[in-house]
Symmetry: C2
């Protein structure tokens, strides 16, 4: 039986271990750093097996999925470069790709690496919040190397379909990081910045779905997001500059009292949003 080894059984790794169970002829083996996590995984069927012995697991892996923080991925690739099976595939799930693809250069030529980022998650952390349905309807982004083996890309696509992803989007690490600064990282900076307002604690009872939708992700995993923001600082600050300018433009029109101009500006923005026509979640409560 072939083996998928999932290194790191947190929210994403745990959910992946649940979602991948039964995939083709693969056995799903989870690797954790703490015995308590291994026990939890075994007890709740998170993957088919769970272990603390990362080296032994990686040595028998046909696919290794690194579900740990970006900086830990970099370290892991260097430390375990000689543990991966020749011909095997290594991949990850983290929200930054340039730094990861650079670190993957450390691997021997007979080990393939495909960067991966499933656009899924919740504002919680840890295996106890993992659930098999997490990836349903989400995009899976792949950043294959130029010389990645086509059967490995095809395997990733079948895995994506199996866990319920809506589609697979292939791109370069650079494009991924530039766009993700906008669609993901900036959304988190917005959420925490809204929550920094002194009014936060007096607004209970006055919040609706727009407030909940915007601030949900503020309760973030600090080490993870510190790394993501830091590793993508130039792209993120560039996005923030555009956003702050756009906010200031709205502030100016609102302060001017020119209702006609405000309506014109809102029409423009609202039409852009309608044009984009994103399928949205049901956010009514």
């Amino acid at each position: 039986m072939k083996k998928i080894v999932i290194v790191g059984l947190g929210l994403i790794g745990g959910s992946l271990a649940l979602a991948l169970k039964g995939f083709e002829d693969f056995q799903v083996i989870g690797v954790a750093r703490r015995q308590a996590t291994v026990d939890y995984a075994l007890e709740h069927g998170v993957g088919d097996e769970a272990t603390l012995d990362v080296t032994a697991a990686v040595r028998q892996a046909d696919v290794t999925v690194l579900c740990i923080n970006p900086v830990d991925i970099v370290t892991f690739l260097a430390e375990h470069r000689n543990d991966f099976k020749p011909g095997s595939l290594v991949t990850d799930v983290c929200g930054i790709k340039s730094a990861i693809m650079a670190a993957a250069q450390a691997l021997p030529p007979e080990v393939d690496f495909i960067g991966c980022h499933p656009m899924a998650g919740t504002e919680f952390s840890g295996i106890e919040h993992a659930f098999a349905e997490m990836f349903r309807g989400s995009h899976l982004i792949l950043t294959p190397r130029e010389d990645s083996w086509e059967p490995h890309v095809a395997l990733m696509e079948r895995m994506a379909a199996y866990i319920g992803c809506q589609d697979v989007v292939k791109t370069t690490p650079q494009e991924h990081d530039a766009i993700l600064a906008y669609t993901s990282q900036m959304m988190h900076i917005i959420a925490v910045s809204v929550c920094d307002d002194p009014m936060l604690f007096t607004c209970k009872g006055f919040e609706g779905s727009s407030f909940r939708g915007c601030t949900r992700v503020a309760a973030l995993d600090v080490p993870l997001w510190t790394q993501l923001f830091s590793l993508n600082a130039p792209a993120l600050t560039a996005c923030l500059d555009v956003f702050i300018d756009n906010l200031k433009d709205y502030r100016k029109v609102i302060a001017s009292g020119d209702g006609e101009k405000l309506a014109e500006k809102l029409t423009w923005s609202a039409n852009r949003k309608r044009q984009m026509d994103l399928p949205g979640p049901d956010l009514l409560h």
Copy 2:
């Protein structure tokens, strides 16, 4: 049979007409400006009756609920001040309260007015998007007059319970407008400002739930929100100033490369969010 007259059968008025059907011994009568809306309401059972004749409807109303845009409410109160039945209650559903409560001073002393704002809605407009469950789990904010009749406040509370509101929050028009600038109006300015980014149309396939949650409301009802922003401009611009400063603080720390300070700042913000502990919608897809 007593009568609730709902003036304006748009998204909120239509949903209210659906949700209030069967409430105690009240008949629910919807008033629209266009025959097509009246026909739709009659055909789909939006309320028990529907009519174009607003004056006749208001004259027999025990409760009149104004579900029209803020500026139209101001005009309506002045124009129909002598049409309301003595002893009857007039209320509204709009997202601004100071301007509405001031306009309600035009009513004769024997007509009661209680400002009302259900914290519910979607990004759509019009009766065809109305649904009875809209108010389930949401807050209903009331701004009664100092001399509002207690039985009218109690009636509003029973109506809130009947349509499924989570709770009823009473406040002053001033406090309502100060807080709503933060929890609602600013969320809409954030959403449109994010969508003004040139990257919007290239980011398809790269967006996750945080992006959808933050930008969902950008496809807004322009006349309505132009009025809400304009009528609350001082409070809204004050909120935007605080928010822009908070964003700039984050931008500065990210640009500095000081990971420790960034982690500290994120910990502070994330803890505030956790402390607030809002019940959130399920936003996983």
